[in-house]
């Protein structure tokens, strides 16, 4: 044991140094907004910067004490996105700036709580069916208690005491845990054995049944509620985890075939799906109605050009939902291609670190868990970015860690907590041994 270590603690210099970046970003961003309005930076800005700094420092200290071997890049990268989120919400919807800061604070507490409460990663595995049941209960409860606080036409929220949250945000984490545990149990069976029908070898379908059942209920529910973005995300997540567990391309091909059939069915059944596809094909044909959001989003991006109009000097508020799903349009307009590519870069770093955690953890459940958690962030970012950029039909999901919104922020911080816990796992096992 080295002289400067306290108990099992080891300094995490890289993380500490990197954490200066989000704090600087927030300070500079808020100051820029104040100065451009012709006012001196107020004390509320300093309080926000101090609050973020202390929240990050608290998490950093807890990691240093209890998880000294946890990944040192994940927290600063996610915090960059959180700081940018606070800056952009302050710029786009000043009245919501404090609430977003509060949510990020609550999220940090949730992250800490996850690290504090979680006895070990394998503990999650023991209660796999509890998580599945909890997820189902959550989703099904929206049918009974679901409300639609902001009049979007879909009853996706659960509310109590004036606070609303979206169960699908929690559901995605619960599903990751369940999938990871289940796939870990039946991984070898699913990988090796097969049922031969003539020249084609089929997978052992019976073993997939619980998984498919769970997926079908989750998908069915969100589709019934017209939450197509969540459906796409859950499906992509299932595909990614199945592939990581088995490595069988047949699953991917088969699933994609089912996806195409399902999408075609949805296209025929729901006018909302049809409108989304038509809008995607030519948003300018309906630029003042259904295509308005997409057209204004793309126009905002174009207005930003390479270096952007500068914070507060663009007109991103013409884009509906610019502070939630369409956050990238505001970033693109005011911070330019430089800013929007930086955001993409942050997601790439996050995905890369997350999958690296999965690779080195050494425990197959932890690997699947980390891969699933990372996939959630990566796929969700791709779904909404692709929709905003007219690469795929637009479906409403939040941009992870950037969009305004309580449940989204909260869920993503819990997710980060789990990921950090997994990253610390191998050395903890070694220390315990």
């Amino acid at each position: 044991m080295r002289p400067w270590s306290i108990g099992g603690a080891r300094p995490r210099w890289l993380e500490l140094a990197l954490l200066a970046c989000p704090i600087l970003l927030l300070a500079i961003g808020l100051t820029t907004i104040e100065l451009s309005s012709g006012e001196a930076p107020g004390s509320s800005d300093q309080a926000l910067v101090a609050a973020l700094a202390s929240a990050l420092f608290a998490v950093h200290c807890w990691l240093t004490l209890r998880y000294p071997h946890a990944d040192q890049v994940v927290l600063p990268t996610a915090s960059m996105l959180a700081a940018l989120s606070m800056v952009m919400v302050a710029r786009l919807e000043p009245s919501l700036a404090l609430r977003q800061a509060m949510w990020i604070g609550v999220g940090s507490v949730a992250l800490l709580a996850t690290l504090v409460i979680l006895p070990s990663v394998s503990w999650l595995r023991q209660y796999r069916y509890t998580w599945a049941a909890l997820g189902l209960a959550l989703v099904l409860s929206t049918f009974v208690f679901g409300v639609d606080p902001n009049g979007s036409g879909a009853r996706l929220w659960l509310g109590f005491g004036g606070v609303y949250f979206q169960p699908s945000e929690i559901l995605k984490i619960l599903l990751v845990v369940f999938f990871a545990a289940y796939l870990d149990d039946y991984r070898e069976l699913l990988t090796l054995s097969s049922v031969r029908v003539g020249p084609i070898s089929l997978p052992p379908l019976p073993y997939l049944t619980p998984l498919l059942f769970m997926l079908a209920i989750a998908l069915g529910t969100v589709v019934m509620q017209r939450d197509l973005g969540a459906a796409l995300l859950l499906f992509g997540l299932f595909l990614a985890m199945l592939f990581v567990a088995t490595g069988r391309v047949l699953y991917v091909v088969g699933s994609l075939a089912i996806f195409v059939l399902g999408a075609d069915l949805l296209y025929r059944l729901f006018s909302v799906v049809k409108i989304r596809v038509e809008t995607w094909q030519d948003p300018w044909a309906t630029a003042s109605t259904t295509g308005y959001q997409l057209v204004q989003g793309l126009t905002a991006l174009a207005a930003g050009g390479l270096i952007g109009a500068g914070l507060t000097y663009g007109y991103p508020t013409y884009v509906p939902a610019v502070h939630t799903d369409f956050m990238i349009a505001a970033i693109g307009e005011e911070l330019g291609l430089a800013g929007s590519l930086a955001v993409v870069g942050l997601y790439v770093v996050l995905v890369h670190r997350g999958l690296r955690i999965a690779m080195v953890t050494g425990d197959s459940f932890a690997t699947l868990l980390a891969a699933g958690l990372t996939s959630v962030v990566g796929i969700q970012a791709l779904v909404i970015l692709g929709g905003t950029l007219k690469l795929i039909p637009l479906t409403g999901v939040t941009l992870p860690l950037l969009s305004y919104g309580g449940s989204s922020v909260l869920a993503n911080y819990v997710l980060l907590g789990l990921l950090l816990a997994v990253s610390a796992e191998p050395r903890r096992r070694d220390d315990a041994a």
Partner: protein, 493 residues
């Protein structure tokens, strides 16, 4: 599972690469095209934030400026009346007109008289401040012109015959450019066409004022001795057209100068018909064979050429578009048409600006000055860019000697004949009246006057038309006198 993870990472990375490429595609490759679409609200937003430049007259009097409103926006106001047509209007809904349209780039700041400062301002996100546009107009002369028209449909153009600077350009009826958004439909549907700038967008039969150009052709071609007397009494008949000498019934014998001053239609019908000959035969009673019979084509061609030298029927370069008018419509020349054209009727059509330029050319030694109304653009910091027409002159229409002779003839008209109401004490004035028959048979003719003062060293040239008002002598000529008097009081070159 390691290999599977690596493959998953590859797929996700590929997704982000596509997203990055798409960002580049929209933010860089398709940037200009997307921003130019009508779906881009930034164009209007930016225009609303611009502090639009002022429009000033030559003395610095404000003709148009933006006045801040309580709600933070600013409203375009026009504190000086009577300038709606030339200054124009500025509306987000209906666009711009007049100078507001022509120099919108300077006024709105997309172009600046100080490009360096504009670039720095854009980088520092300073609000765009448009350049002021300084016109050659003088609000005082403009007011005199508006008053002289007295609301009668018509137009007045006053210009400096040497520089071509337009000092006043009035058109009646007019409109309130500050009410464009509120009263657009009423203005557009008004049968009196208040939005039309009659000085440059309406063409009129010039009547006897065109005799200046017919006389210029005959004298410039040296076809007539202006001092030689000839008997001029009996009407002549050309085709079915009878042309008489009623304008000078008290003078049975005249020379070419007097025939001009008294506006003799018979003399000018013959002049037009005989422009193609070697010498005008203006003496009494002509019977077939007429001297013009074999020369009709050449006569017509010469008349057209001289009309063209005075920019009748041609696109006149000016800050704002000018109707070209015409010497003749689409058909062939025939004797009575040529005769009528020569004394200012027929199918002739000219704008008041073109007729004012004809007077200015006579005053300016035969050179047609290039007309302009926008002097310079002035950036907020004081830097200026000249908007002036670079040519100075649009060419020599006639020789200086011919111009001098016609100058004397126009002075004679003011001193002794029909243009007498334009005479001023102590100032020699040159002028030519016109009473143009136009519109339905029997309707009151247009009242015309073109002229300049002082005749020896002209400072102002003028054209006045009052639609369906009566004779040139009774209406346009005294109106022109009051305007020229005011102009001579206030205008120093």
């Amino acid at each position: 599972m390691q290999r599977n993870l690596a493959r998953l990472e590859l797929v996700l990375l590929a997704g982000f690469v596509v997203v990055a490429l798409a960002l580049g595609y929209w933010q860089f490759y398709r940037q200009d095209e997307l921003l130019a679409r009508p779906t881009n609200p930034r164009i209007a937003e930016e225009a609303r934030r611009v502090v639009r430049g002022k429009i000033l007259d030559r003395t610095g009097k404000v003709l148009a400026e933006n006045v801040p409103q309580p709600d933070g926006a600013s409203e375009r106001t026009y504190p000086t009346g009577g300038l709606a047509h030339i200054v124009g209007y500025h509306s987000e809904r209906y666009g711009n007109s007049g100078i507001e349209a022509k120099y919108d780039d300077y006024l709105s700041g997309t172009r600046s008289a100080d490009p360096v400062d504009r670039t720095i301002s854009a980088l520092l996100h300073r609000p765009t401040v448009g350049s002021d546009v300084v016109l050659t107009l003088d609000a005082r002369i403009q007011q005199a012109a508006v008053d002289a028209l007295g609301g009668n449909p018509g137009a007045v153009v006053v210009l400096d015959p040497v520089s071509g600077a337009v000092l006043a350009m009035a058109s009646a009826p007019t409109f309130d450019p500050g009410q464009i958004d509120e009263r657009w439909n009423a203005m557009v549907n008004d049968p009196a066409n208040p939005l039309v700038n009659r000085a440059i967008q309406s063409t009129y039969t010039p009547g006897s004022t065109f005799k200046v150009i017919t006389a210029a052709a005959a004298l410039d071609l040296n076809l007539v001795d202006p001092g030689a007397k000839f008997r001029c009494v009996d009407p002549i008949r050309i085709d079915n057209l009878q042309v008489d000498c009623r304008n000078h019934s008290h003078l049975p014998t005249v020379d070419f100068r007097e025939a001009f001053a008294w506006s003799c239609n018979r003399t000018f019908a013959l002049t037009g018909l005989e422009l193609g000959t070697e010498r005008l035969a203006l003496a009494d009673v002509l019977r077939p064979p007429f001297p013009w019979q074999n020369q009709l084509g050449r006569s017509a061609q010469r008349l057209e050429e001289y009309a063209g030298r005075f920019w009748i029927g041609k696109s006149l370069p000016f800050d704002l578009p000018v109707e070209p008018g015409q010497v003749k419509g689409g058909g062939e020349w025939y004797p009575s048409l040529l005769a009528q054209t020569a004394f200012g009727q027929g199918e002739l059509a000219a704008t008041p600006l073109q007729m004012a330029l004809a007077a200015a050319a006579i005053a300016n030694g035969g050179a047609v000055p290039a007309p302009y109304v926008a002097g310079e653009a002035r950036a907020a910091g004081g830097a200026t860019t000249s908007l002036n027409h670079p040519a100075g002159t649009l060419g020599q229409a006639i020789s200086a000697k011919t111009a001098q002779t016609i100058n004397e003839m126009m002075v004679l008209s003011v001193d002794t004949a029909w243009a007498k109401p334009a005479a001023m004490a102590g100032v020699k004035v040159g002028g030519k009246t016109g009473t143009a028959e136009a519109g339905a048979e029997g309707s009151t003719p247009h009242s015309w006057f073109i002229g300049y003062a002082p005749a020896e060293q002209p400072r102002v040239a003028i054209a006045v038309i009052m639609e369906h008002k009566g004779s040139g002598t009774d209406f346009a000529t005294p109106a022109a006198k009051t305007i020229m008097q005011r102009a001579l009081e206030v205008y120093q070159r």
